[in-house]
């Protein structure tokens, strides 16, 4: 692994920590990079009660069984990716979260047919929140993100501005009635996705900062 002091988040070169931001302006979209999160891909027999019980015992919460839902407890959240695939994420900004989650799950699920892969470094996470966050995403995303169709806690893999993304509606933004989405993209698309979102949000007024 790279020396810790050299490790950079996917959007570090944009110098987001060095921007003053202007939260006093009437910005209705807030963009932020979530650096150094844990993102572990878990594949396992989704229909096997023994496997589901073992996960629950290890994590303290049940794996989401229904399509497009998430569940969590403690420091991690499990996102449904497919009938036999989940993402276990920790977005608190702990650089060691990925390896720690992976090690914990590998030990706890050793008796089951699973694949646990730490892919934290392959992804970038952009948080987009604010009153016009939905409208901004909807410009490049075919999925219906209306509050009636896409509720807090829901997640979906879909397309945004021609790239593949995982969108998770985590809940309220700075103002509780405003939505906050976590958009996971592949690391090599991070800058493109960020610039696309910044451009799409410009008409609403946008602030950009490090999470």
């Amino acid at each position: 692994m790279i020396e810790k002091y050299l490790r950079q988040s996917p959007l570090a070169h944009l110098g987001l920590g060095g921007q003053t931001g202007d939260d006093a302006a009437p910005a209705r979209v807030h963009l932020a990079e979530r650096p150094f999160f844990g993102f572990v891909n878990l594949r396992g027999p989704g229909a096997d009660p023994a496997f589901l019980d073992a996960f629950k015992a290890a994590s303290g919460y049940a794996l989401p069984a229904e399509a497009g839902t998430s569940g969590g407890g403690g420091n991690t959240t499990a996102l449904w990716l497919g009938p036999r695939e989940w993402a276990i994420v920790d977005t608190r900004g702990d650089p060691d979260a990925g390896p720690r989650i992976a090690e914990h799950l590998r030990t706890a699920l050793a008796d089951h047919q699973v694949a646990v892969t730490d892919i934290s470094e392959s992804r970038a996470c952009i948080q987009i929140s604010g009153a016009k966050a939905r409208a901004t995403l909807q410009k490049g995303c075919p999925l219906d993100l209306h509050p009636r169709a896409f509720r807090p806690g829901q997640c979906a893999q879909t397309r945004l501005a021609k790239t593949t993304v995982l969108i998770h509606l985590t809940g309220g933004g700075p103002a509780p009635e405003e939505p906050a989405f976590d958009v996971y993209t592949v690391r090599s698309f991070a800058e493109y996705t960020w610039l696309w979102l910044e451009d799409a949000a410009r008409e609403y007024g946008v602030t950009a900062r490090l999470s």
């Binding site: 399509a67 497009g68 497919g82 009938p83 075919p142 979906a156 879909t158 397309r159």
Partner: protein, 97 residues
């Protein structure tokens, strides 16, 4: 654009999917025992149906699962979707054309 009902994720837009050609094509059990014509038929020959067609799709930008769809090739209406390995639902193929 088509709205394709993924058996796992529900209705999603066509750009999330990739096409996989005709469904329910079975690989010959013993390829060594058959003649070239039968093998070529298995590898290359596909139906060109005007009407209800059973075809494979993969939710490439979603849950990444393969599944089958019954689509009318004239009206583009999608009549059913079902998981790979399942039998196609009973459809009135004749009257749909």
């Amino acid at each position: 654009m088509l709205v394709i009902p993924c058996p796992h994720c529900g209705p999603r837009c066509e750009i999330e999917f990739s096409y996989g050609g005709q469904a329910h094509i079975t690989r010959p059990e013993d390829p060594a025992a058959i003649d070239d014509e039968t093998w070529a038929d298995y590898v290359f020959m596909r139906d060109n149906t005007k009407g209800v067609f059973l075809e494979r799709w993969v939710h490439a930008h979603g849950c990444r699962q393969w599944f089958n769809v019954a689509r009318h090739t004239v009206t583009y209406e999608i009549l059913a979707s079902y998981e790979t390995g399942a039998k196609p639902p009973k459809l009135d193929f004749e009257t749909q054309v």
